[in-house]
Subunit: 193 residues, 2 copies
């Protein structure tokens, strides 16, 4: 059994034929650190599954890259906005590390909905999980201070803190890198006292 069916079986049950079908539909791809899985203006025609590595999602405001999400091991990676509306992406998905990503072309995602008994159920639950994550993030943007947002990041992505450059974490938290240093120092002082 390959990686994709293992992940999908955490959401729905698959019989032996369906396992084979799913694993045949996803194709593994190695993405080099710094490479863009999806660029501005491209229409996103895939859903991916990260086996190793980490990607970030960002949008541009003036010249600043605003990082608003990450996908790492076990996560789906896609710009659903572009997938679902088939409109050019206003976001970039970039590999922050060398990644192994299983890519499912859109027409095969449609086949999974049709050919797998619980395919639609898989689609529903997978997008529900993304939805809840996004809702938590919008809540954080509205209500949390930068320090709280940093703590939420630590809580949600404990495995990423050592792997991601500080300026990208700062961008996610919504502050300048110097401010993130101050926040980290303040938290460290507090922990010591």
């Amino acid at each position: 059994m390959a990686y994709p069916s293992n992940i999908i079986r955490q959401i729905i049950t698959l019989n032996r034929d369906e396992v084979q079908l799913v694993d045949a539909y996803f194709k593994p791809q190695l993405i080099t650190k710094g490479e863009r899985l999806l660029d501005y203006g491209q229409v996103c025609r895939f859903v991916g599954l990260v086996e190793t590595g980490c990607c970030r999602y960002y949008m541009l405001q003036d010249d600043a890259e605003l990082t608003y999400a990450f996908s790492n091991e076990g996560d789906f990676v896609s710009n659903y906005e572009s997938v679902l509306t088939q409109s050019p992406s206003t976001k970039v998905i970039e590999a922050l590390e060398d990644c192994k990503i299983w890519l499912l072309p859109l027409e095969r995602l449609q086949k999974i909905y049709l050919e797998i008994r619980q395919g639609e159920r898989f689609g529903r639950i997978a997008i529900e999980q993304q939805f809840v994550k996004l809702l938590e993030q919008i809540t954080s943007l509205y209500t949390e201070s930068p320090t709280q947002r940093y703590l939420t990041f630590l809580n949600n992505y404990p495995e990423l803190i050592q792997r991601i450059p500080q300026y990208i974490i700062a961008s996610f938290v919504g502050v300048q890198p110097q401010s993130l240093s101050r926040i980290r120092k303040k938290l460290a002082d507090r922990d010591r006292s």
Copy 2:
């Protein structure tokens, strides 16, 4: 045929039996202006469908009510975060007008997934639509100025501008009411010149 099946048939096909089932599962409820459909700390156990009227969603920061979404005619109304995780709501859903809302209890939503042929497909597509809306909103929060956010509001909810108090629109745009007045005046001046 009642309202719920009419809306659901915009997403999936329903046979005659399924139409009856769907329309029997949703119960109409009249909600008075100012009433809370969902309060802080309540676990949300319904998905609703707005036939008439308008609701707003807000969260509290210190003492400020931060309006982050609306549901009006033809929209679903629910706190999916609370529904999906069955955790106490951190948001309030409040009727801004007298509303007629068709309520579907959670256990009947599960029945729709199981008993209607395309029930799961309905669930997937409905949540996808909410997801794209939310993603557009998060993009707007990150990248748009208050003036742009007001224009986006006008574009997305043209029918609500006359129906919603200005201070609530200001809260959605993320500014004080006085600032919203200035934005409106500036836009009106620009249109005149």
